[in-house]
Symmetry: C2
DNA sequence: TGTATGCGTTATGTATACAATATAGGGGAA
DNA sequence: TTCCCCTATATTGTATACATAACGCATACA
């Protein structure tokens, strides 16, 4: 046991946090399950102190829940928790878009978003969209949302949006993955792209209320589609994060 | 050093967290200042492990910032950070009010809010308001906001609102304290009470959009008043949390 | 047979020792 | 005199030992 191979490129705490988050989101740890520190020490390769720090961070992140008698367990989410989180994120992104519009954004700052938009347009020209193109779409979409958030130039707001995206399915990538299971997936992506185009236009023309409204609409649609997607779970079995959603009977 | 008096009623981690937060908000630790773990160990009475856990929690809370080379420093906030945080909280509370209105709230659930409202009305009947009555007002106002948040019945949203209230001045009590320095303080409190009354009415009548709008207006007014209050800082010298706001020159 | 109590095991909470890195200060050279 | 480098010190990151509390199981008694 003297042999403990240590990766010094990142801190042990970060390594443990990433490993544990992965275990949670991949479903290796089931919701409600108590996380044993010793077990985590074995699976992550870090010692107890960094593991504990990682557990505290993951609790603050919302993926774990402290057990009153001590220790942590994996949090379970109801379907409503998930849809509320998406709507929550949409509301915050709406505020970000409004801030961007009201406070003014230079053409130069808007350029990366337009590039993103154009790149997604290019991808969606394929009918039906290929797996690789869809994967690129997920990345570009996440990038678009991140850039838009940045435009608000409000650190507290950016911070909160990041937090709101921590939950499974509440991140832009997460819920796109879920929606992709729907038969009308392509149509959904195209409408989403319309929202993206409109919000850029609104920001450019300094229409704060319009920018906000379209982002909220964007999220509301996502909520509706996630609900639909969860109806036919059979399409979703490939998504491990699904395990975090507790069923109605739980 | 064998003598270390230990308070076993609360965990060392919680004790350290409370003590450190108090030091930060009271201005004993200045923004930008690096927090020495050893020093924190001395002032809190806990050992390094719980102190480190507390530091991680306070970082997640937003009061501390991680230094890339290691350790933590007290975060400094711009005036805009503060006003954005208030608007942020208002937006989230607006969503909470809308959820409450749309999802329906029984008369029984609304009762505590109405009691709060009536109690505040009673206090405001005094002109001018006494110090003790103002102190009660602060408590009741915080209670009102907490109850309203609860009505959303959305754990993710409640969680986010709590987080958004962590910053100094962003909590209901915090910004009321700041506003109280204004000459027209009483008038402000009365208008705030109008908002409270309207949101209850809107929730009762299931008018989601109206409930949301009035809470956002509530926050927007608070932002305006905080700005005014910060103009004449002389009135605010009694507020230690003021030290966390970095001046324009910083 | 069911329940309660006590003991043993196991896990977490805390403290501290050790390792590694960042920082500051002093000395030397240009 | 100034700049750079080296060393010493202090502080953080990590590991582990110890203390304490919780949980489960078994046994005894009702």
């Amino acid at each position: 046991m003297a042999e403990r191979e240590v990766d010094r490129s990142v801190s042990q705490t970060v390594k443990a946090q990433l490993a544990l988050r992965d275990q949670i989101l991949s479903g290796a740890l089931r919701p409600g399950e108590r996380i044993s520190e010793l077990q985590a020490v074995e699976t992550t390769g870090a010692s107890r102190t960094p593991v504990r720090m990682a557990l505290v961070r993951l609790e603050e992140e919302g993926l774990l829940e402290a057990i009153p008698s001590g220790g942590f367990m994996v949090k379970a989410f109801s379907e409503r928790d998930i849809s509320d989180s998406i709507e929550l994120r949409g509301t915050l992104e709406g505020l970000a878009a409004r801030f961007a519009a009201e406070r003014g954004v230079s053409a130069r700052e808007l350029e990366p978003l337009k590039e993103c938009l154009a790149a997604i347009d290019e991808l969606l020209r394929q009918v039906p969209i290929s797996i690789e193109a869809f994967s690129s779409y997920v990345t570009l979409n996440a990038r678009f949302h991140a850039l838009l958030t940045e435009l608000s130039r409000s650190p507290p707001l950016i911070r909160q949006i990041d937090r709101a995206s921590a939950l499974p399915f509440a991140s832009p990538s997460g819920f796109v993955m879920a929606q992709s299971a729907l038969p009308e997936a392509q149509q959904i992506l195209i409408i989403g792209q319309d929202h993206h185009r409109i919000v850029i236009d609104a920001i450019e023309n300094r229409e704060g209320a319009r920018a906000e409204a379209v982002m909220r609409e964007h999220a509301r649609l996502a909520v509706r589609n996630l609900r639909l997607a969860l109806r036919n779970r059979t399409h979703l079995d490939l998504l491990p994060a699904l395990a975090l959603i507790k069923t109605a009977t739980d």
